[in-house]
């Protein structure tokens, strides 16, 4: 029998062994296939396309100072401000906030109109009980929108009043124009100077009248907010949070499963003692490693296929790119993730240690791969850590392929494959050391 044939037989030993061991656990397979799908489904269900509404209490300590304009301050049109009620006692409102009976306390400034008339800004104080920095940012944003809304409505009211006053002024102006025209008839024919002055006066009055007509013809909201903004994504599609996170969730799950499987593989064999048999048998470290890599890669590709099928066809996660780009990116991700797993397996002394390392890596991937926080926000030196994780490459590639319809950026593909190849080499050297004569 040729050496090549024997080489293939030896590799196949691990392929069939690992796959049989996995397939012998139907519950595990069901968990692996439907678990991630269920997580994505529940994620979509748990985070509908709605912003959080805040139960709001307005504190108006001196209602009389609002000159009957209470509603201007306490009837917010912002959908984020809900279940509004008004309280005169600030301490009571804050106590309710502490008891989580309300989410926001907006204290209306005392005598706000008088303050403005005195050429000063009237300041609203907004209390909240949040600790999450993202929620605090959200509250700040809601508070800013609220104040902008109050300012806008105040200006609109003033504008409407101004337009009404302009109507009265226009009546007087039209009377003045008529009188000027009458006056023009009384000017003697030879008095050209006076006639010219009356003409100028009539023109000025007519111009002001026209301007007032324009002023009155415009809507108050346009006058107060003459400019607005409209954002549009280049692809023309606005993704929901579920759609946006789906590629990242797939990447994170595949990386974690690959690492967990591979990390337990060799450490278990070392612990069981069968490694001693491998040392005596005519099997080499490279044959062992290739056999294990291929078996897990094959299984993980099948798993990725099922998860992707369920995500795209059942959860309707968008897939705008080419499938062969997707397959290439996923295989690269799995190859490198398995490399990480085998490295863990070779440096761990026990199963527990291997599981702990895998969990640490999952945690690092959640925080540093751009899963939650945009990588562009990260401090530059820390990006080295981010780009040493397979998930970072995987998330970028799958987002580009699935959401943008692009191909995987060659730099990313080369980067992840380079890490994978490096890990394969390191793993081979470590396993060879484990299997060599002591």
């Amino acid at each position: 029998m040729s050496n090549l044939f024997k080489f293939l037989i030896r590799i196949s030993s691990f392929m069939s062994k690992e796959l049989t061991e996995i397939l012998r656990q139907p519950r595990l397979i069901l968990t692996l296939v439907f678990g991630p799908f269920l997580i994505m489904f529940l994620f979509g269900l748990g985070y509908p396309e709605q912003n959080r509404t805040l139960r709001t209490t307005f504190v108006v300590e001196d209602p009389a100072s609002l000159d009957g304009n209470m509603q201007l301050f306490t009837d917010s049109v912002s959908p984020a401000i809900a279940d509004q009620d008004v309280e005169e006692n600030r301490e009571l409102a804050l106590a309710r906030l502490a008891l989580n009976e309300t989410d926001l306390v907006i204290v209306v400034p005392p005598d706000p109109f008088e303050t403005v008339r005195n050429n000063q800004q009237a300041v609203f104080v907004v209390y909240h009980n949040e600790v999450d920095p993202f929620q605090i940012a959200y509250v700040n944003s809601v508070a800013r929108i609220y104040v902008d809304d109050v300012n806008r409505r105040l200006l609109e009211t003033a504008t409407v009043e101004g337009q009404a006053n302009a109507g009265e002024a226009q009546t007087s102006l039209e009377s003045a124009i008529a009188k000027t025209q009458a006056l023009k008839q009384t000017v003697p024919l030879g008095d050209t100077s006076t006639a010219a002055q009356v003409d100028d006066l009539e023109k000025d009055l007519t111009t002001v009248n026209e301007q007032l007509t324009t002023f009155r013809s415009l809507g108050a909201s346009v006058l107060v907010n003459p400019f607005n903004v409209d954002t549009a994504p280049l692809g023309g599609i606005q993704f929901t949070p579920t759609e946006f996170f789906a590629p990242a969730v797939i990447v994170l799950l595949l990386q974690h499963l690959s690492i967990t499987f591979a990390s337990l593989s060799i450490v278990r064999e070392r612990r069981s003692g069968i490694m001693e048999l491998f040392k005596v048998a005519p099997i080499t470290a490279i044959e062992t490693l290739i056999g294990k890599f291929l078996s897990y890669l094959l299984f993980e590709i099948l798993l990725a296929g099922v998860i992707t099928f369920l995500a795209v066809w059942l959860l309707k996660v968008p897939m705008f790119g080419q499938w062969y780009h997707y397959v290439l990116a996923v295989v690269a991700l799995l190859f490198t993730s398995l490399g990480v797993g085998f490295l863990i397996s070779l440096i761990s002394e026990t199963d527990t240690q291997a599981v702990q390392y895998s969990m640490l890596l999952l945690l690092a991937s959640i925080f540093f791969s751009g899963f939650f926080l945009d990588l562009r926000l990260m401090w530059e030196p820390m990006k080295i850590l981010a780009w040493s994780l397979p998930a970072t490459y995987g998330i970028r590639m799958l987002q580009d392929i699935m959401l943008r319809g692009a191909s995987a950026p060659p730099m990313l593909l080369q980067g992840i494959l380079l890490i994978g190849a490096g890990l394969f080499l390191v793993n081979w050297l470590l396993l060879r050391r484990r299997m060599e004569v002591q």
Binding site: R10, S13, S272, E276, V280, V437
Partner: protein, 327 residues
């Protein structure tokens, strides 16, 4: 199983000279010198922790000797090629196969990593399962097997590539006496097929099944002998038991003791029964019969006595300890 090996090949499959292995300050194997002839069952006997497994690991190339010379199948084990390794089978002390695989799958896995061809494998594995009497259980998960069945599966996995030389590290440890006997029947069968077996055991009684026995104690190989040779060495000769029809008087015992082939003093079992250590039982028994007649001792029975190997071993160790006692 009909995978009979060529039995004409002779020579020693293992040749160790002054073989030593240390782990730091601890000497695990100390100046071990021995030869294992091809086609024999070589028993390696000694108490737990005496260096048996380390010796097997040296012979299989897992450990590199600290000093000394070692040749297994004509080569140093640390330089074994793949082809050399295909000639060796190694049964590890503990069950190390995969509990989640069936008997057949485990065997198939072992066959693959030894590079056994795919076309003949099916028949070969079936014959092996037949040999270790596990054919009916080939669909069972290894985790569902009893301790004895696991050992038989391990033995089959060791045999899967039909190796020339088998290293079996305590194959009978922890299993019941009936199954132990069965295992030795397997080993005899393997020997008949031309395999050489190097078997370590803590059960001194199993020395009887071996062609040669190496006695290991505290990292040192005390001796390599045939089972009978071991008894001889332990007691300084063969033991002959005499039972008389009447009381054997002191002067008559003395007469027997003074015979030239008798070693040491006569051991009195009771008034009518004595045990005598002689150079060679076969030649001594007729002479003892004659001498007894002359001394007017009526013999009821006279026979060679084979003391249990446990006693032999204890005797040997006592002798060894006495030899190394500080002066």
């Amino acid at each position: 199983m009909n995978s009979t090996r060529n039995q004409n090949v002779s020579g020693d499959v293992v040749d160790a000279h002054e073989l030593t292995k240390t782990f730091g300050e601890e000497i695990a194997v100390n100046s071990l010198t021995m030869k294992v002839p091809r086609g024999t069952i070589f028993g390696f006997i000694g108490p737990s922790g005496c260096g048996k497994t380390t010796t097997v690991r040296l012979l299989t190339g897992i450990h590199r000797p600290t000093s000394g010379e070692l040749s297994v199948l004509g080569k140093s084990p640390v330089d074994f090629s793949k082809t050399d390794r295909e000639k060796i089978g190694y049964l590890i002390q503990n069950f190390v196969l995969y509990p989640e695989l069936t008997v057949w799958e485990n065997l198939n896995f072992a066959a693959s990593f030894y590079g056994v061809g795919l076309f003949t494998r099916h028949n070969h594995l079936n014959k092996l399962l037949d040999f270790v009497e596990l054919k009916e259980d080939k669909g069972k998960l290894a985790s569902a097997l009893s301790g004895g069945m696991k050992r038989r599966l391990s033995l089959a996995a060791t045999m899967v590539h039909n190796p020339e030389l088998l290293f079996l590290d305590e194959p009978t440890a922890g299993i019941d006496p009936l199954l132990r006997r069965k295992f030795w029947e397997y080993f005899k069968e393997l020997q008949n097929q031309g395999h050489t077996l190097f078997v370590t055991t803590q059960y001194v009684g199993e020395a009887a099944y071996c062609d040669l026995v190496g006695v290991m104690y505290d990292g040192r190989l005390l001796m390599v002998e045939t089972p009978e040779g071991l008894r001889h060495k332990a007691y300084g000769g063969d033991i002959v038991g005499i039972k008389a029809t009447e009381w054997i008087r002191y002067e008559n015992r003395k007469k027997l003791e003074d015979l030239p082939f008798v070693r040491g003093k006569v051991k009195v079992v009771n008034d009518q029964q004595i045990e005598i250590i002689v150079d060679e039982a076969n030649t001594a028994i007729p002479a003892l019969v004659e001498a007894s007649k002359a001394a007017r001792v009526n013999i009821e029975t006279i026979e060679q006595i084979s003391p249990p190997f446990d006693d032999v071993f204890v005797k040997l160790i006592e002798k060894e300890d006495a030899n190394v006692q500080p002066v």
